[in-house]
Amino acid sequence: MTTTSTYDVHTVRAAFPILQRTVHGGKPLVYLDHAATAQKPQAVLDAIGHYYRTTNSNVHRGAHALSAEATAAFEDARAVIAGYVGAARNEEIVFTSGTTDGLNLLAATVLTSAQPGDEILLTEMEHHANIVPWQMVAQQRGLAIRVVPVRDDGTISVDDVASLLTERTKVFACAHVSNVLGTINPIAEWSALCQANGTRCIVDGAQAIQHCSVDVQALGCDAYVFSAHKLFGPTGFGVLWARYDFLDALPPYRGGGAMIDRVTFSGTTFNAIPMRFEAGTPHIEGAIGTAAAIRWLQEIDTTERIAHEDDLLRHTTAAMTAMDGLTILGTASHKVGIISFVVDGIHASDIGTLLDNMGIAIRAGHHCTQPLHQRFGIDASARASFALTSTREEADMFVEGLAKAIRMLR
């Protein structure tokens, strides 16, 4: 492992209690489903426990010490998250319940002045979370959905993006990283095209946030959303970053406490951002746990961990490419450690079941990307996904297990 000589994966791995467990009667767990959800380092569990044991209180409300401490920790989390993605101001960070929630918020608020016939541009590789909310608003307002095609290698031609951006395109909503193909899309290029065209560029960062170093200024997009559970943080929490002026001009989404300025039965005025979009008691633990996850991650050298994951990707891809009748979906040169594949005459679910019995957790199905699967003429695929905790040994166990499963199924 010469490429990752100073990266000590076993130390990083030791931070995750769940990775020590066994399944199916004593087999060590080989967790290769990190694209579905990331595991949590002890630092995150400690932060959650500490919050509830010492600080728990409603935020922005009480006049007492506990509430002040909780509010400080909560707003400190916002600052940590803002810093992590390169937000210009803390107010640009809206807390949501996840990527899905963030995309729904944007779909419901960004197009309120769109006219029938206006267009929303998506890509063929989008997750259902970045399709269905736009379909719902398109249906309500008579908007059209256009789709940028995916090429055989799992990439998208920038010319296709350019030619599908019309003067009616109000929004281009696209994944930073595909959860099936692993492709890292050139968001900076796409954002520039959008900006020149007067189109809002909204990025689904659900997969990118775990693997890439995300800087919203360099990406140049208008909004970026992700889920904490894929960033080693707690479930039920997510982040929406949007450029200040853009966010500030959006109407409210959910109504309730904290998002208001003044409520009367004859009319209500709304609070400033980000509070305007955070109705009700927020997921305080979620914010604090996510900040802990980021702090933990920041202890690790970014370049080295990305190189480590890249090594796993290339090593495993090479071994799989040699396997008979196996096709990898997504062979972009610029991709993260996600390998989706199909095997001639064998159903992905059968592969998943047999690997599971060997202790190896992968995923089988459509991965919430039915249109992408249709584009490749398939119903389902199998997917192995690595994280910074994955090892070469795990990669090899997966490859051997896969070969064995294929033998059993042929």
């Binding site: 199916h24 064998i346 679910s349 079941t353 089988a364 119903d379 059993m408």
Partner: protein
């Protein structure tokens, strides 16, 4: 063979397997030899919800027994379907209703079948029971 006799025999068969690989090799083999599914029933109407892979189930009555055609695009699921068919196919509605559905677990299959797969099975079992229930109540209302 009655459902309970079939279950006993399955239990005997399964007791012979000492490891999961043999057990799965057997299930896969069963899956490969499942009776072909009539293509005219490969429609949404006969699709069973709740499975990772696709599953079709077409129940029908012949005389006083209930019969099932079933299929899946995943071979392990087809093997499991074959096991279910040994128990249910050709039984009377009353026999089906009298058979406790937890035999999947008591057969020791649940150890090796993930909950998800089991859920797919559970959805199929539910359909089989609902169908038997419908047949039985029609019989009863006809005879009363």
């Amino acid at each position: 063979m009655s459902p309970s006799a079939a279950i006993n025999q399955l239990a005997d068969d399964f007791a012979l397997f000492s490891d999961w690989e043999d057990k799965y090799a057997y299930i896969i083999d069963l899956g490969k030899h499942l009776r072909p599914y009539p293509e005219q029933y490969r429609t949404d109407e006969f699709k069973v919800r709740g499975c990772q892979s696709q599953v079709w189930l077409h129940p029908h009555v012949e005389g006083n027994t209930v019969h099932f055609d079933a299929d899946s695009d995943a071979v392990i699921v087809r093997g499991l379907i074959a096991l279910l068919m040994r128990v249910y196919d050709g039984a009377t509605a009353k026999e089906i209703l009298d058979t406790p559905t937890d035999f999947v677990r008591t057969l020791g299959l649940a150890d090796h079948l993930s909950q998800n797969r089991a859920n797919g099975l559970a959805a199929m079992l539910k359909q089989i029971h609902l169908y038997a229930l419908a047949v039985q109540s029609r019989l009863e209302s006809a005879s009363s």
